[in-house]
Symmetry: C3
Subunit: 258 residues, 3 copies
């Protein structure tokens, strides 16, 4: 799904989303009103996404209008937040065979929506608006069962597939083009503070239910098997599996892939 060179990714993806929503609204009248309010009534991706996130995350005490303004302002003052969302949409289409359209991801993927809301919570955190960042974090954890601390730094082109139960700690760092399945934990090993969570390199794939603990480094392009418990560094382009995880091919001469 490469957009043509003559057009920005954002503009191209938004055009696709509107075309998909038009097609779906025509074929499914029961969804027409829903698609109109979430996609077709909006002039741009940032407004559609802000509206959708605000409706998902609002509560009787945290109003959707407040959240809509917050998301919209964050997207407009931090263009990298929106361009990362576009990269995530492209990543879902490329890497998830069950992702049938961009609008499917935008509207339905709780992992995608949780990451976009997290990026806004992270902006608030870096602006020292911590109470608001934490209130938003709490709503994301309630609504999507995805618990990413607002201080955690996350790259672009991220796929949180299925996403339920993902937990990412305060000092975790996730690179670009990382795929993370559901129930994955990037956690700490004890109660001490400080830099205590994993650092995940570019292009890493983390299987369902993997638990990665401590200030360790998962090298770029590494793969972590489903259900692994990882307590050691994993070199680039290496696979780790098991509980506790061992490097496939042995510790001294791990087999590299690609």
């Amino acid at each position: 799904f490469p957009p043509p060179e003559s057009e920005s990714d954002e503009s191209w993806v938004w055009t696709q989303i509107k075309a998909e929503a038009h097609r779906d609204a025509d074929s499914e009248p029961a969804l027409a009103s829903y698609l109109y309010s979430t996609v077709l009534s909006h002039p741009s991706l940032d407004r559609s996404l802000s509206f959708h996130l605000a409706n998902k995350l609002c509560s009787s005490t945290l109003l959707s209008t407040l959240l809509y303004d917050l998301f919209l302002r964050s997207f407009s003052t931090h263009p990298t937040v929106l361009s990362a969302a576009v990269a995530d949409l492209l990543a879902a289409r490329h890497r998830d065979p069950a992702c049938v359209s961009f609008s499917h991801c935008l509207l339905n993927y709780k992992g995608f929506l949780a990451v976009q809301a997290h990026r806004v919570a992270h902006v608030l955190w870096t602006q020292s608006r911590r109470p608001l960042a934490l209130a938003l974090h709490s709503r994301i954890a309630d609504v999507f069962s995805v618990d990413i601390h607002p201080a955690a730094r996350i790259g672009k082109g991220i796929l949180l597939d299925h996403a339920t139960g993902v937990v990412v700690g305060e000092t975790a760092v996730i690179g670009n083009n990382v795929s993370i399945l559901h129930h994955v934990t990037l956690g700490g090993t004890g109660k001490m503070g400080g830099d205590r969570h994993p650092k995940i390199g570019d292009g890493v794939l983390i299987g369902a239910g993997a638990t990665i603990l401590g200030n360790i480094r998962i090298g770029e392009g590494a793969k972590i098997g489903a259900g692994s418990v990882v307590l050691i560094d994993v070199p680039p382009r290496t696979t780790a599996v098991g509980n506790p995880a061992r490097l496939v091919g042995g510790k001294e001469k791990p087999s590299r892939h690609e």
Copy 2:
């Protein structure tokens, strides 16, 4: 809990549910209005279930009236969807010692409710109403933290116990009388499309947190231990445990149960 032979399972179960709701409304005035609106005001199981699911799954953009009509029409035009719900209610009463009544399961079991809503999403999927099937799938995943792809085929007499975090992929097939605990994944092993998810035989029991990956076959009556990571076929009436899972009794001569 075998219904008498003179009466259909559905009619008998619905009679039990109404009697239970009457008894509970009498003993607990705080629940009377709730039980009236969810059970006692309805003339039949399909209407009670449609009302309850619509209220659980609706959102500010996906209205409960639309969902109520959708569920009710699906139950009336696909009688096997409702009879599978009845079989699930009987399965919960038989197999879950914590299930104290049919109405308890109908009203409170997120696994039961997620499976019923999934069956309707599956009907929509087979009718090529995919955008609506995926929108419903997304609401089930948000509300119940149960993520069953609408294309997945599921039998009857299913018990999803606790249910939080269950993930079932697009090409998975689940037989009849299967019990699945929480955090169970029936997933794929990579990013390729096609037939890539497990096939679960009749009467299988899958323990909490088990991860079953790839187009493999779990034979009828097999048991999968809690926390197992299963990447190989499991013969009928055999137990698999561990990460990676091995067959209890060894690969060549696995011990059979029953």
Copy 3:
């Protein structure tokens, strides 16, 4: 965070919470209305907590007013329920380095809120108001993805960190000052009824994704590693890790900590 000896824990913690909420409302106007309605408008911790829980757990059929009255009455007639909440707030501040304030825990920690609502469900259960206890249990499981059977007995000073996916069975018992990470299961091993769930001693720490099954005893001060599957008793002050879990230091001479 030891309160002064001259003041009760509850009064001191509530004074801290109000001061924190005042400070946050001043620094973040977008949260002022939220903090007023959840904290600052209330004369006491029990009213603030009842209001917040009722808003989180209500639905279109289970009204917030009903839940507010229920929580408030439970806190006033069972003072140990509120004092346990205070002990939990102190535990989160002591043991979780990401917990930046008492109000952060009160407003945002789904594990904290799930445990407080569970204690009220447990009071209802012991009063034989089981349908209401189970309805509340179901809402807690839906909203927080935390599934604690209302019959389960839980001590004070409890930290459910992250909390998503925690499952605690009907006959489980949890002591005081226990820390439980997300995705932890205290479950049964089969379909038989009776006393079938784990007993967790004081001061135990259970890592993310650990699955503890059967009527076994985890001794006081024991530690259970992340991702472990525990099917055997663990002696006091001993560490168990792995799938199946083994005692660190061997079965006969397990190494003790502290």
